[in-house]
């Protein structure tokens, strides 16, 4: 113990020795036994030893701790260096040195701190760059999974090389992103221009592809998928554009054609300049906004439609004009446009059955043909006009000749006399006229091989008819003369019987008007012939007083008149065709000319009419045929023969009523029914209005007449 501590122990020894000597003195004085003294001293010695031992242990532990700390620091330092990829420069530098542990620790601690700082710095850099990569990858829509290994920072490898590697990666990704963005922008530009041209909503189109693309958000989606969709949209829009362009160009072509056709004024054309200017443009050249929009195409379409309508109406106009020309030509040449009546109808053009231009051509051809024919007819036509004029004069003359007062002097009579004179001269020329006309028409027909028709009637037949009529008239005249003679005879007889002389043929004078129908405009009228019958009968009736003596002659008259009636029936039929009957029961009936105002119902006339009627309508039920078969049973008088009855009835002549002022009273139009065609109300059975309204139908069994 003392060996170790030289000075202090000596010092301590001193203190301890002084203390001990002090203790000795105390003990001496106290008189402590020696044993006690010894024990005390041993105790003292042991306590000191224990204190020493404790201190040594403590120091030993402290040294071990320090060594451990140095080793730890060194290990960490080495690890960090390795992680950062740096060389562990100073490690084990102090290994052999004898420097104390504390010094060693002091030396290593700052180095370690420095290294730690650097590591943290490096780690931050890694995190940054990895974030970058991650973000870009995400934007590119790469699956981040394959990059996941980079996502967790490898703590053991934070070397610069690794960092550079990552940076490189980041740069490539950034470049790729830039490329993508450029591509997207390109696509968007194309799309925008297309939309502009097509007039569609760009934003809408784009936001349909991806909502980020419409420019409202700062970043745009640039995934492959988006790009693909953009490309597809562009493709489809382009297709639409091409379609529309072709449509528009078609329309423009049509429009220009129509303009040329119709000489549309420039001002009107200007409005559609933008339609037509793109006629020859290729797809890329069309870039004007809205030029291919649906509205614009519709607008152009409407214009084309309008122009087409105008065109068709103009064509119609021209067609109609030509048609009118043709008809006018035919009319002036008195031709019937029957053959030319090929269907030039506008309707046919409208429904597209006929090509209008072809139709125009045809009609032109017709016109030239008709013109040519008309020219060849002029000569004959002139002659016909003359002849017709002569016929009219003839007619007038006849009328005039019948006028008993013609020689009464009055105002203008001299003029009429002059006219009559002229007319007589003209009438004398008629036969010659007819002859030349016939010859001319014959040669014309021979030349041409077609019939010469005048207003649809063959001229030759007209002439023939005229001659026949003339002949008939002649015969009629002859007969009249005979009758007059006979009448004279009768009157004479009557005079012998009754001693008085009835006024001669009072009615006959007025009625005898054998009209010739000189004008061919009423060549179907039968007034003259009708009156003739009436006349014949009247004479017959007036003579019936002496029927016994004249029975035979009478009958011949009857027969004659009836036969002449029949002859005229054909004419009646024709005249009947001119009538039109309403589907209803109201009828339009041509009033027979020159009817006497008040003639009683004569059964003779009735029978006459009924005969005509029977011939006209054969489908009438039998029971409606002439009443001759029934009259005997209906009239209980003892008249037996039909002829007798017919003769007997209208013995007296009606006296014409003096005209009364119509405001007060009007004479009845009492005249016998002319040969008006009958109208059965049903097919065979007639029905009254009430029956048809009620829908009353006869039962089948009742159809047979009940008599």
């Amino acid at each position: 113990m003392y060996n170790h501590h030289n000075d202090p122990p000596s010092h301590m020894e001193t203190t301890c020795g002084s203390l001990l000597s002090e203790l000795q003195k105390i003990w001496d004085e106290v008189g402590e036994p020696d044993v006690e003294r010894d024990t005390m001293l041993l105790e003292l010695e042991q306590e000191c030893l224990e204190a020493y031992r404790r201190k040594v242990d403590q120091a030993n532990r402290c040294r071990a701790q320090m060594r451990q700390a140095v080793a730890d620091s060194e290990a960490e330092l080495a690890y960090l260096c390795a992680a950062l990829g740096e060389r562990p420069v100073h490690i084990r530098k102090f290994e052999q040195s004898t420097a104390s542990l504390k010094k060693e620790l002091e030396l290593i601690t700052p180095q370690l701190d420095e290294m730690r700082k650097r590591k943290n710095e490096r780690r931050r850099q890694f995190v940054e760059i990895l974030d970058q990569i991650h973000n870009i990858s995400k934007e590119l829509c790469r699956s981040t999974e394959d990059n996941l290994f980079t996502m967790a920072i490898d703590e053991s490898d934070l070397s610069l090389k690794q960092l550079e590697e990552l940076q490189r990666q980041s740069v490539t990704l950034q470049k790729e992103k830039g490329d993508r963005l450029k591509q997207v922008l390109d696509h968007l530009n194309t799309l925008e221009s297309l939309c502009l041209v097509l007039g569609t909503d760009f934003k809408h189109t784009v936001s349909e592809i991806h909502p980020t693309l419409d420019g409202s958000s700062s970043t745009k989606n640039i995934s492959v998928d988006t790009i693909e969709r953009l490309a597809a949209a562009i493709c489809s829009l382009k297709e639409v554009k091409i379609q529309r362009m072709q449509r528009l160009q078609d329309l423009a072509t049509t429009m220009v054609e129509l303009w040329c056709l119709m000489d549309t004024p420039i001002q009107e054309q200007q409005k559609f300049q933008n339609v037509t200017q793109n006629i020859g443009a290729s797809e890329d050249e069309i870039s004007e906004p809205n030029i291919l929009s649906l509205e614009f195409i519709n607008f152009a379409e409407a214009e084309v439609l309008r122009l087409q309508q105008i065109k068709s109406s103009k064509i119609k106009e021209v067609l109609l004009k030509k048609k009118l020309d043709l008809e006018e030509l035919c009319r002036t040449a008195h031709m019937v446009a029957k053959a030319h009546a090929q269907d030039y109808s506008v309707e046919a053009v409208e429904c597209g059955a006929l090509d209008p231009s072809y139709l125009l051509e045809q009609i032109e051809l017709q016109i030239s043909k008709v013109k040519e024919e008309a020219f060849s007819r002029t000569d004959i036509l002139e002659k016909i006009e003359k002849w017709l004029a002569a016929c009219e004069e003839e007619c007038w003359l006849e009328e005039y000749n019948r006028d008993d007062n013609r020689y009464n002097a009055g105002r203008g009579t001299h003029l009429i006399l002059k006219r009559a004179e002229k007319a007589r001269a003209l009438v004398n020329k008629i036969p010659a006229m007819v002859e030349t006309l016939t010859a001319k028409a014959r040669t014309w027909e021979k030349e041409r091989g077609v019939e010469f028709s005048y207003d649809g009637v063959r001229l030759l037949s007209m002439l023939e008819q005229y001659s026949v009529l003339k002949q008939e008239k002649e015969q009629e005249r002859q007969r009249q003369r005979d009758q007059k003679r006979l009448q004279g005879l009768l009157i004479a007889e009557q005079e012998a019987l009754f001693g008085s002389k009835p006024s001669p043929t009072k009615s006959g004078k007025k009625v005898s008007r054998p009209s010739m129908g000189g004008s061919y405009n009423n060549r179907f009228s039968l007034g003259g012939a009708m009156l003739q019958i009436a006349n014949a009968e009247k004479i017959g009736h007036s003579s019936s007083i002496l029927k016994k003596s004249n029975r035979v002659k009478q009958q011949t008259f009857q027969n004659q008149s009836l036969s002449s009636a029949k002859r005229n029936l054909d004419a009646t039929g024709l005249a009947g065709k001119q009538h039109s009957f309403n589907s209803s029961n109201t009828q339009e009936i041509k009033s027979a000319p020159l009817r006497k105002p008040l003639s009683p119902v004569s059964s003779a006339l009735l029978s006459n009419v009924n005969i005509q009627n029977g011939i006209r309508t054969e489908h009438e039920p039998l029971k409606r045929t002439p009443p001759n078969s029934k009259t005997p049973e209906a009239t209980p008088t003892k008249e037996i023969s039909v002829v007798d009855e017919e003769i007997s009835t209208p013995r007296t002549m009606p006296i014409p009523m003096p005209p009364t002022p119509s405001t007060v009273s009007v004479a009845m139009q009492t005249a016998m029914t002319p040969a008006t065609p009958c109208f059965p109300l049903g097919e065979d059975i007639e029905f009254s209005f009430e029956e048809s309204r009620f829908g009353f139908v006869l039962p089948k069994t009742n159809l047979k007449p009940l008599d």
Partner: protein, 340 residues
């Protein structure tokens, strides 16, 4: 009647809602009986312009007539013949035909009801008989065709049928017609009416014509008959001919009015063969006419008669006009007619 006379006469209020088939004045008052296609028979007081009563039937009513002032008869298209008692609003069925009953007349001379039907028969009924067709039916008389019109004067009955047949009966001997005739007009008979003096009848056809006939079958008698044209319109040289639906004789003067589908009513003097008057045009066809008992009133049924089928037409109306004597009084002839 009113202070301001209307041109067409006074129009009765609440007219039938469908076509008017006939109207008749009572022989005792100014009551007017009207039958209509609206299945009703109405009784009006013409002078008071009042609807007095209405009877509904099973079908359109084609004709009606008075019995006395308090009852009447109707002919319906549901084949029935009915007796109508106005005061009690009562109606009994007198009997039935086999087809719609077209016309009906009451004979004061025999006290019988005479009906004509489209079943081609004429039937006489005794309205006093107890209810039941077997008791009231007096007789059935076959006609050559469907009966279109009937007219009575005294004991004479004139029956006009389809096919232009005309049968003249003596009511005292209905076993067979006194005369069988054919209409002297060529077209379907619309209406037949006897002269009030009982010497003959007027017959109108669908073709604007009226025949004046005489019962006297002697030569002299038949010589007087004649026919005349009326209810026609001349347009552009063509005559439009209208059916003559109605004839009504003036009870005092014997002149007569005709009504046609042209909407006109003409008054004629048959003896002098003159038209006396033409009233202003009515809105549509004149379907029926009737003079009141003293001839001072003329009832005109302006009602479309379906001559042109079902088509839009003017509403049906009944006009009652007071008759001026000038309009109906015959005028002496300027010259004597040697024929008559």
């Amino acid at each position: 009647m009113t202070a301001v006379p209307q041109v067409a006469g006074q129009e009765l209020e609440s007219p039938p809602s469908d076509g008017i088939s006939n109207l008749r004045f009572s022989n005792h008052s100014d009551h007017l009986l009207v039958s209509s296609w609206d299945k009703s028979v109405r009784l009006y007081d013409a002078s008071a312009n009042l609807l007095r009563g209405e009877f509904m039937h099973g079908g359109p009513v084609l004709d009606c007539c008075f019995h006395d002032d308090s009852s009447g008869f109707s002919a319906s298209a549901d084949n029935t013949v009915r007796r109508l008692v106005f005061n009690y609003g009562r109606e009994d069925i007198l009997g039935r035909h086999d087809a719609p009953v077209r016309c009906i007349e009451y004979s004061y001379a025999t006290g019988q009801v005479i009906t004509g039907s489209w079943d081609k028969t004429l039937k006489c009924w005794d309205p006093r008989g107890a209810n039941g067709p077997d008791r009231s039916l007096v007789g059935t008389y076959t006609q050559p065709e469907r009966v279109y019109s009937l007219s009575l004067v005294g004991n004479r009955l004139v029956v006009a049928t389809a096919g232009r047949h005309v049968n003249v009966y003596d009511l005292r001997n209905m076993s067979q017609p006194e005369q069988r005739r054919e209409s002297s007009l060529k077209y379907q008979t619309r209406c037949v009416r006897c002269y009030p003096n009982g010497t003959g009848y007027a017959l109108s056809s669908v073709e604007g014509r009226v025949a004046m006939e005489f019962f006297d079958v002697s030569e002299a008698g038949q010589a007087k008959k004649y026919a005349f044209k009326c209810h026609r319109k001349s347009e552009a040289g063509r005559d439009i001919v209208y059916p003559v639906n109605a004839i009504a004789f003036h009870p005092i003067y014997g002149t007569f009015a005709t009504g046609g589908c042209d909407g006109y009513v003409n008054v004629w003097d048959g003896n002098n063969k003159k038209r006396l008057y033409q009233y202003s045009k009515y809105p549509t066809s004149v379907a029926a006419l009737s003079f009141s008992r003293d001839g001072r009133l003329l009832a005109v049924a302006s009602s479309y008669t379906y001559e042109e089928g079902d088509k839009p037409h003017e509403p049906d109306g009944i006009f009652v006009r007071s008759v001026n004597e000038v309009e109906v009084k015959p005028k002496p002839k300027a010259y004597p007619n040697p024929t008559t």
